[in-house]
Amino acid sequence: MRQRTWWMYVVLICLAIFALGPLLIFVFDALKTEPELSSNPLGLPAHPQWHNFIDAWTQAGIAVGLRNSIIIVLGTMIGVVVIGGLAAYAMSRLQLPGQGAVMTYLLVVTSLPIQLFLVPLFFLWTKIGLYDTQFGIIVIYWAVYSPFATLLMRSFMIGIPASYEEAARLDGAGEIGIITRVVLPMAWPGVLTAALVSALSAYNEFLLVLTFVQTNTKQPLSLTFFAFQQGYSQNYVLICASGVIMILPMLILFLLLQRRFVEGVASQGLAAE
């Protein structure tokens, strides 16, 4: 019954080469010397120059950028999950009155271009003293990323059968109990996805943090890398190296969360039976 799947593997491997190839070339380029870069742009490095990473680390100011990125990402992620999770719960399980209107509102808000509110927001942030603070940009990220997270988590929470909830209520569970024992475990993949997406968005975000975080010692890696690339455009090898360093934290985070994600989905599948 599961014969002739080999062609699927072929297609998948082709897609994998498409996805992975350019990244691998990038990593290879990070390990080459500059002359080797022009003569051998696509292949493996002859003698891996591991010190490029150290050079890039110091020259691009990565330590500071990394610390700032972690602060901003963690703050954003926690806030978005809490804010969005509460709202998603209200909209899916608590039958929020006016739900349709709220959903439309959230969709509209997600579609507003950042540039629409950028300058007045800048005025406001300066007045209340949040300009050039990491907390300030985190709050902006909360506002920008929570609507999508809410809608995403809600679409996962909707699928949970009401019978589970009723059973828990009959058992005497309060609101928090229902959330922790029924909703969260079943919507866990959704929550995780929302957390991951908001963390990634905050980590890679560029335009907002550029405008609202002015001091170099507070800037995250996305700005550090961009500035480095603009300034050292002739030393492409170091740019590759610093780019690779920048990718690593998110990659590790994804790999860690990814396993939990799979477990969550698997247990949901089991519970459904």
Binding site: M1, T5, M8, Y9, V11, L12, L15, A16, A19, P22, L23, I25, F26, S38, G84, L86, A87, A90, L94, Q95, L96, P97, V102, L107, V109, T110, S111, L112, P113, I114, Q115, L116, F117, P120, L121, L124, V139, I140, W142, A143, S146, P147, F148, T150, S155, I158, E175, Y203, N204, F206, L207, S222, F225, F226, Q229, G243, I247, F254, L255, Q258
Partner: protein
Amino acid sequence: MAAIGHVSGLRRRRARIAWLCMIPLILVNLLVIVGPAVQSIYYSFTSWDGLSSAHWVGLANYVDLVQDPQFVQGLLHNIEWTIIFLIVPMVMGLFGAYLLTMIKRGRALFRVIFFLPYVVASVVVAAIWQRLLAPHHGFASLFKINFLGDTHTALWSVAFINNWAWWGFLLVVFLAAMQGVNPSLYEAAELDGAGHWAKFVSVTLPAIRPTFMFLALMTIIWSFLVFDYIYILTQGGPAGSTDMLSTVLYRAAFSEQQAGYGAAIGVVMAVISGIVIAAFRIFQRVRRWDV
């Protein structure tokens, strides 16, 4: 009597808790987005240059806008972009996710690989592909076309690069949705003699419809907001061939010191998104689907 009173009291209490849960979202939303957006609407009716005080000009900005070739060109490019992104990454994501549900081994590994490009920051992705598509010493030199420099290919090239970093995300979300599909539905379809395509159309697609519609809607909306890759790779050039509404807005507000005009563009962008969403909601209600 007492039972009914208890039920409606419960409903009211639930409604109260519900609204309480919504407070953080609403608060942060009003502060950061709605308040400033309303101010921008005000500025769109002025000739504000972003620095000094604003002078009221009524609808002048909007009249200029409609006649501005840059604006029209940007709008057309956004539409082109939307069409591209409703097709290419969606098809790739659906197809890839479906294949992954069908195979036995390596699913986790493939999923990680496909998602990787999405994890990479746009600045880095741009750096990677700029190198690869460089006309003389890049991989693309084989084709003898300057992908990012030629006005005929620039937009598609930027879309290609953005797609490379985007389709993996769609795949992962589709995969999660597909994995929630009851396997017995597939077995039943197979017993009826359905092949892969039929299974996909009759079982998978309907089952993931909420996710699919949601992502399609978000794709349309985000296609009108696209900015990062255009800005980093071509700044709207060459010769305006990759100019999008957001780059036109950006240039007006920050290079040409026409913040009022830029605000008007922003308002128009929001209105377009609003129309799309409204159409979607009406479509939903007519077909009685729930996202």
